[in-house]
Amino acid sequence: MDRKEAQHRFDYSGALPRLFVRIGVLPFLLLIALIVFTALSDRFLTAENLITVARQATYLAIVAMGQMLALLTGGFDLSVGKIVAITSVITALTMAPLAAAHPDATAATLTLGILAGIGAGTLVGVVNGVGVALFNVSPFMMTLGTAAISFGIALTLTSGVPVYGIPDAFGTIFSFARIFDIPSPVYVTAGLFVAMYVLLNWTRMGRYFYAVGGNLKASRLSGINTRFYLFMAYVLCGALAAVAGALLTARLETGEANIGASMPLDSIAACVIGGVSLRGGIGNVGNVVLGAVFIGLIQNGMDLAQIQSYLQEVVIGVLLILAVIADQLRQFVMLRLKD
């Protein structure tokens, strides 16, 4: 108590702690990863490989941007993986019969399929939002519940087998096409990134996400409709996960109920490594995308270094915990970094 009143300088005001507080742990991790993997494999630091990393990271980057919104408001969304799954299933189930009935109307088939899929995924987000914002269900239970519901529905609809019959054009356009050598999903991600950047930094809604997560009561007293913005965070999170689900379906060219299982962990990891606070109110969308890229980089690097995929899980888990510890440390340093 007494300490707060004082305005003395602390020993934590050196250049490195300041940098750490400002940019978080991520740039340090990226640097280390680049050095290590470049040393391990000479194929790592090539243009082609980096493009591969970019494409692999897009799906996670999109989900992580949505996850960030939930985290900003002081919650999280554990259903993102199953939103990806149900989007994939609904997209495929809508496209397959349409493509069979009207082989020539590809554009309409794709449009309807994408809308249906993303609509289904977003609907899960709406349900999450209603539960969290209106009924005060804890985000943990709410999203865990909707995850089970979505997964159950996806499995029921498909009997657990992949859905075939998606028009080839879907994969061609939304996964394999390249413009200036860059795969199309990367453009989608870039577009969403710009939209998110504008939303978070230049609109009231974005500002309110931070405020509501930072202090709900203060936000309410400042005349903010806190329930609405909590609701919207989960809706947008669901929508973004759904977009990722549709893009992933284009890449796989089938509808799958079993995809996205690692998304909750990976997306939260990407956010936390990117400096988003688990207590809400703090986070930068650019760093979140970098966090996703970092995870993509780690996975790619480990692939090249021929580390088996089971061990890769271990590494991601370790990194997540380290990132959380770094976040605590950052809070600690920040509180002492007064000037």
Binding site: M1, D2, G214, K217, G223, K338
Partner: protein
């Protein structure tokens, strides 16, 4: 004995008085990283006295009692217990010596029962197993002895805050008590509960227990205290007998300034009625049939003890309390049970008493906090997007007016001192056209400099025609800043005092059950 030295004291002779003090701090200093929280402070406590520690937030009261209770070890200086030098190894050690502290932050486990909490860490055992029967009997004895209406098997989470405090106190009485340290014990109590606490303190005194009582409420000093030690900036400023103390003197000692330097002269020009509350009763009964009026160009006080219902009034005006009956009118319009948004849009601003809890988004910047209530309107939003450059300009202006330190409006609030955080809270009401300010404890936990600045602002706002409802348990604030004052007592409006009627005696007379003797 009463030593009073306005300069940093060094002259309290330990051996010069007949009764040996039971607890003594000798020139204790405490250095926290970057802060000297206590600077060579002497303090002594005699058996059977209530020794009040008085001072502003940050003066070092908390640190001193934490050292006395064994939470912290002093960096320099020493503690003597019954004349013997001791080195406290922790709270538990202190407790075995009969030194018990009740802090504001309770140390109770919510999911356990009262008896389990009472003996936590010192469970009664029989051959390695818990002796629950003995524990229950002992717990029952302690509670009965203290006259608390509690049963040992109640769970903490089912108790009110006041009842939890009773459990904390009962915990102190578990061992043979010789020193009881109470840290702002009435902060969360209703008046009736406070009365019971006071009676218990009287009783403990007669048993020879020495009591260290931390407060920043002057009324409690007169009510309970035998001696008072005033701390400022980590130093002991004075120790005096309560009989010799009065508001002016205490305030001067606490702030280091004379009253006329602290409180500005305000030219009141009461104009049209802004806020009219008639026969307001909240659903929880915390306010019953309360009526009041605030006009433009005046500062209206709303005084009362904590729990008197005065805070409820401000909250009710902002849609934060459920209203059972009555009417709230603002600027001629019925605004009963309207939301915070509706009130802000009409030009009313509410400053909550706890800035961390309800006022500020601590991890965000000054700029974002100040503009937060007003983002929907120009100049902050243009064509649906935030206009960050005019936001910056506007907030920077207010930061300049308030002399915010540091001036950088991009700093997040965690990095500001308490006083500057409070300025930011006030700044939220200054970036838009506000006609009515409802300020609930606007100077809680701030240094004197900030206090003076905030009072200056209240004057400026009032003189430029705003209406101000000043809700405060700080008596001098009420006495020196308001031209009209209401006093609440246990949910009822007790009195309305005007101008020269606003005296300490008349306000205090309405604070308590009976007038103070």
């Amino acid at each position: 004995m009463s030593t009073e030295t306005v300069a940093p004291a060094a002259s309290v002779g330990a051996g010069s008085t007949p009764p040996t003090p039971i607890l003594q701090a000798q020139a204790v200093s405490k250095q926290f990283p970057g802060v000297l929280a206590l600077d060579a402070v002497d303090f002594e406590l005699r058996a059977g006295e209530v020794h009040v520690l008085f001072g502003e937030n940050g003066a070092g009261k908390s640190t001193l009692i934490q050292i006395l209770a064994g939470v912290h070890a002093p960096t320099e200086g020493g503690v003597r217990f019954r004349g013997e030098p001791i080195e406290l190894q922790g709270v538990h050690h202190a407790r075995t010596l009969g030194i018990s502290a009740v802090f504001q932050e309770f140390s109770l486990v919510q999911t356990l029962t009262i008896e389990e909490n009472l003996f936590l860490g010192a469970e009664l055992t029989n051959r390695g197993f818990l002796d629950k029967v003995a524990q229950h009997r002992r717990a029952d004895d302690i509670l009965k002895q203290l006259g608390f209406p509690l049963r040992p098997r109640q769970r903490i989470q089912d108790l009110t805050r006041a009842e939890q405090q009773m459990v904390e106190i009962a915990k102190a009485f578990r061992t043979d008590l010789s020193v009881l340290i109470l840290d702002e014990p009435t902060a969360s109590l209703t008046d009736r509960e406070a009365e019971r606490l006071f009676a218990m303190i009287e009783q403990a005194k007669t048993r020879g227990v020495g009591i260290v009582y931390v407060t920043h409420r002057m009324s409690e000093i007169y009510r309970l205290g035998d001696r008072v030690t005033v701390l400022r900036d980590g130093k002991r400023v004075a120790t005096l007998d309560v009989a010799e103390a009065d508001d002016e003197r205490l305030l001067q000692l606490m702030t280091g300034r004379v009253i006329s330097q602290v409180f500005p002269k305000i030219a009141y020009q009461p104009g049209t009625p802004l806020l009219e509350i008639s026969h307001l009763t909240t659903e929880d009964g915390a306010a019953r049939g309360v009526s009041l009026l605030v006009r433009s160009g005046e500062v209206v006080g709303l005084a009362g003890l904590v729990g008197s219902g005065k805070s409820v009034i401000g909250r009710a005006c902002f849609g934060l309390e459920r209203i059972a009956s009555g009417r709230i009118t603002f600027d001629g319009e019925d605004v009963t049970a309207r939301s915070a948004r509706a009130m802000l849009d009409r030009g009313a601003f509410y400053l909550p008493p706890d800035r961390r809890e309800e006022g500020l988004v601590m991890m965000r910047s000054v700029r974002e906090n100040v503009s937060l209530p007003w983002l929907a309107a120009r100049p902050f939003t243009r064509f649906g997007f935030l206009d960050r450059s005019s936001e910056r300009t506007k907030v920077r202006d207010v930061a300049d007016r308030l002399n915010l330190q540091p001036r950088n409006i991009e700093h997040d609030l965690e990095r500001l001192s308490g006083g500057n955080q409070q300025k930011v809270l006030l700044a939220k009401g200054l970036v838009s056209a506000v006609k009515l300010f409802i300020l609930d404890e606007p100077t809680v936990g701030v240094d004197v400099g900030t206090r003076v600045a905030i009072y200056g602002f209240i004057r400026d706002l009032c003189e430029s025609g705003a209406g101000i409802l000043l809700i405060s348990s700080d008596l001098p604030e009420i006495l020196h800043l308001t031209n009209r004052t209401y006093v609440m007592y246990r949910g009822d409006m007790r009195a309305e005092l005007q101008g020269a009627e606003i005296t300490q005696d008349r306000v205090l007379a309405n604070f308590f059950e009976r007038a103070r003797a």
